[in-house]
Symmetry: C2
Subunit: 407 residues, 2 copies
C-alpha cells in the first residue's frame, strides 16, 4: 500500500536495521525445532507463586500508587533495594545514583542518546552484545573492536584501540553475551589502568554476573577502578554500571537499572522523560515486593542449579557429537556458549541446514561490529530442558558432520 509516509522516513532509519537474529528467529517458529537461538531464561524457574502473592499485596496495600504515574527516576524503595544490593558487591551508591529503565535495552538506548554523536567511536569487545550495537547504530556510532579469547578482551590489543579516541569503552565482564566468557581478574585490572591512562570512561554491562555456577566471583570493574584510585568502596563515577532483573527474576517485567554519577542520572532521566515518561509503576512495585526478605539470594541459587545442569549437559553432548576441528567455550555461568567452526565454514549456511534438521542457533557474524566471525555461532543452554539439549546437539552434530564431510 502506497502511503504518504513512504518517502518521509528520517535518514537515521537507513542505519537502523532489523536484527539479523530477529529475522532468523522467524524461521525457528516451527514448534518441532529445538532452538538454542534465543536468549530466554528458563520459564520453569519463574517464581509464579511469589508473583501472585506480591501482586495481591501490592494492589491491597498500594493499589492507587502502583497504578498511577510515577517518577522518571523510578520507585524509591526499589532504588533503595538496588543500592543496598550494590553496596554488598563493594560499590557504595545511593538512590540518586540509580535510574530504573525499561529493560537494559533502554539503558543502552538512553546512553546512546546522552553520549553518542554521529561518527563517535565506541570501543567494544569483538564479538559483543548485539543489542548495544543496535541501540547505538541509531545514533550513528562507529566501533573500535578489540578481540577476545577464553579470558575475555585481549588487553594486549587494548592500548592501540584506546589510542583511536573512543568516546567510551563498553564491556560485559561476566559470562558475556554472546561468548559466555568472563574477563580474568588480571585483565580487568589492566583494563581499568589503561582506561584511566587514556581518560576513557567505561560502561560495564552486567546482566549475568550473579549467575555464576562455579568458582569465585570476580570484583566488578567499577570496584577495581575505585581501588586503583585508592578510594575503595567509593563510587568514583568513572564506570557506568548496568544490570537487570531480566535474568534473576523475569524479563517480561522489563526492569533494569543504571548506576552512574548523579549528574549523568539526572540527564538520563531528562532523556527518559521524553522517551517513555517512566517505567511501569506496577511492575516496579511488584519486583520490590517479590524481592523482600532476601528472595533474590535464594532464587539465584535455584536458577544457577538449573542452568549449571543444562550447561553441563550441553558441554557433555558437544564433546560426544561434534566432529573434530570444532571448539567451544566453557562458561562458568550465564546463559550462552560460543562455538567456533573451522575457518572455511560459514555458520549461516550451517544455520540453513540445521533448520532442516529442526535445530537452531544464532550465527555469530552479527555480533562483530566490524565484520568477522563467519565461522562462529552462539548456543543458549538456559532455555531448553536437558533432554532437548541432548537431542538438539545430536542433530547439530549430524548437520556439521555431513557438511564437513562434503567439503
Amino acid at each position: 500500500m502506497q502511503t504518504p509516509w513512504d518517502h518521509r522516513y528520517a535518514q537515521r532509519m537507513q542505519r537502523i536495521k532489523a536484527s539479523a537474529i530477529r529475522e532468523l528467529l522467524k524461521l525457528t517458529s516451527d514448534p518441532e525445532i529445538i532452538s538454542f537461538a534465543g536468549g530466554l531464561p528458563a520459564p520453569d524457574v519463574f517464581p509464579i507463586q511469589e508473583f501472585q502473592e506480591a501482586c495481591i499485596k501490592v494492589l491491597k496495600n498500594n493499589g492507587p500508587q502502583a497504578l498511577q504515574y510515577g517518577t522518571t527516576e523510578g520507585l524509591l524503595p526499589l532504588r533503595e533495594m538496588i543500592a543496598r544490593h550494590t553496596c554488598r558487591y563493594g560499590i557504595n551508591v545511593n538512590p540518586s545514583n540509580i535510574l530504573i529503565t525499561s529493560g537494559s535495552q533502554q539503558a543502552l538506548d538512553l546512553i546512546g542518546k546522552l553520549f553518542i554523536n554521529r561518527g563517535d567511536r565506541i570501543l567494544v569487545e569483538a564479538p559483543t552484545y548485539l543489542g548495544a550495537l543496535q541501540a547505538w547504530n541509531a545514533y550513528g556510532a562507529e566501533y573500535i573492536a578489540v578481540p577476545s579469547d577464553e579470558d575475555g578482551m585481549i588487553t594486549d590489543e587494548l592500548e592501540s584501540a584506546l589510542r583511536c579516541g573512543p568516546k567510551f569503552m563498553y564491556i560485559l565482564p561476566n559470562f558475556q553475551n554472546p561468548t559466555g566468557v568472563t574477563i580474568s581478574l588480571e585483565r580487568r585490572k589492566r583494563i581499568v589502568e589503561l582506561a584511566d591512562r587514556y581518560g576513557v570512561p567505561i560502561i560495564e554491562d552486567d546482566p549475568y554476573g550473579q549467575l555464576r555456577f562455579e568458582g569465585e566471583n570476580l570484583p566488578a570493574v567499577e570496584v577495581l577502578d575505585s581501588q586503583m584510585r585508592n578510594e575503595p568502596g567509593t563510587y568514583t563515577g568513572n564506570v557506568i554500571y548496568l544490570s537487570t532483573f531480566s535474568k534473576i527474576l523475569a524479563p517480561g517485567l522489563r526492569l533494569a537499572w543504571v548506576i552512574a554519577p548523579e549528574e549523568v542520572i539526572q540527564k538520563l532521566a531528562v532523556a527518559k522523560q521524553g522517551v517513555d515518561l517512566h517505567t511501569a509503576t506496577f511492575t516496579q512495585y511488584v519486583a520490590c515486593e517479590v524481592g523482600q526478605h532476601g528472595f533474590f539470594d535464594r532464587h539465584v541459587k535455584t536458577i544457577c542449579q538449573v542452568y549449571r545442569q543444562r550447561r553441563d549437559v550441553m558441554l557433555d553432548v558437544l564433546e560426544e557429537h561434534m566432529p573434530p576441528g570444532i571448539k567451544w567455550t566453557h562458561p562458568k555461568g550465564g546463559l550462552f556458549l560460543w562455538v567456533t567452526l573451522p575457518n572455511h565454514m560459514d555458520s549461516k549456511q550451517v544455520f540453513m541446514e540445521a533448520i532442516k534438521e529442526k535445530v537452531a542457533f544464532v550465527p555469530g557474524e552479527p555480533f562483530y561490529p566490524n565484520g568477522g566471525g563467519e565461522n562462529t555461532m552462539r548456543l543458549n543452554f538456559s532455555y531448553s530442558s536437558p533432554e532437548l539439549i541432548n537431542e538438539g546437539i545430536a542433530r547439530l552434530g549430524r548437520v556439521l558432520q555431513r557438511m564437513m564431510q562434503n567439503t
Copy 2:
C-alpha cells in the same frame, strides 16, 4: 563531582531540556498544596479489584508466557482487542496495523525516530501537548504553530501553515491537552481536505476521546479521511492514530498503541527493538485480561461520571471566584481546562504567588512551541476531589484578585 562523562555529552542534549512542568511540579510536593498541575487520572476509579483478579488469572493460566520475553509488536490478543475496539469507531484495522508501546510518550518518541530529521518542521496546534514537543525536540524538530480557539485549530490559518512544508501534522482532536478543546466536525473535515491537498499526512493523538461527558462523539479524523476518499471504513493509512490505556485503565501500566500502515508499524517495531526490545509482557497480559467481557465500556462510564462532576464543580467555582477579565474553556470531556488571564499578566508570576497560597497549576507558555501564551494556564480537574477543587479554586481566585488589584 567531576567525572570523565562531563565533557562527553552528545550535541542533541542541548536540545533536550527538563520539562518546565517537571521542574515546577517539584515545588508542589508539599502535601498541603492543592495541585491542579499534574495530568493524573483519579486514583479512586482505578479498578483495583479487577486488577487483582486479572493478575491471579494471568499468572495461573499463562504465568510462564506472561513473565517471559515477548514480541516487539506486542501481545497478539491485546492487539486483536484493540483492533476490534477500533473497528467499532469506524476504522477497520487488523493487528498488523497495531504496535503496542510503553505509553503514548514512547509512540511519540518512535515517530520522531522514524520520521524527523534535524530541522524538519512539524505542524502543530498552539498550544499543543508538551510531551510531543519534548520527544521531537530531541530529533531537532522545528514547529509551524496554528492557533486554536474553542472549536480547536483555526482552519482559516491552516492553509498558509501547510504551505510552509511540514513533514506531518500533529493534532489532538478530542479534549486536547492542554486546552480541553475539541476540534469541531466542520474543522475536522477542512483539516483532512487541506492536508490531502498539500499531501501532508496526519498524526491523530487521541488519549481522551472516550472520556466524553456530554454531546455526541465526533468521527475520528482518520474516519473522515477515508470517507473523503470514498473508502469509508477502510484504513487508508494517511492518518497515524495514537491512543492509550493510561486514561481508561491506569497510567502506571505504561500501555498505549499506534495504528499505522503495516509498513510503518514494521519500521516502528524495528526502531522499538533498539530502544526497549518490547513493552512489558506481564502488563499486556493483565490489561488484556481486565478488558474481557466489555469491561472498558462499563469502566469508561464510571470514569466519565466522576470526571464530569469534577469538571462541573470546577466550572462553577471558577464562575464564583475568578475576577472579571479572566476566561476559561468549557471542555465536554477529558481532564483539563484552560484559563486565559488578561494580556498583561504572566502566569509564571501567578504560579509563584499561588504556591504561597498552597495551590498549583501549570503555566501555559511551555505548550507553545514558538513562544506565546504567557497569560495562560492549564488546570486539571480529574485528580482532586470536588471539595479540594472548591477550596483550591477559591485560593487561586484570591491570588488573582490580589494580583489584579495591585496592577
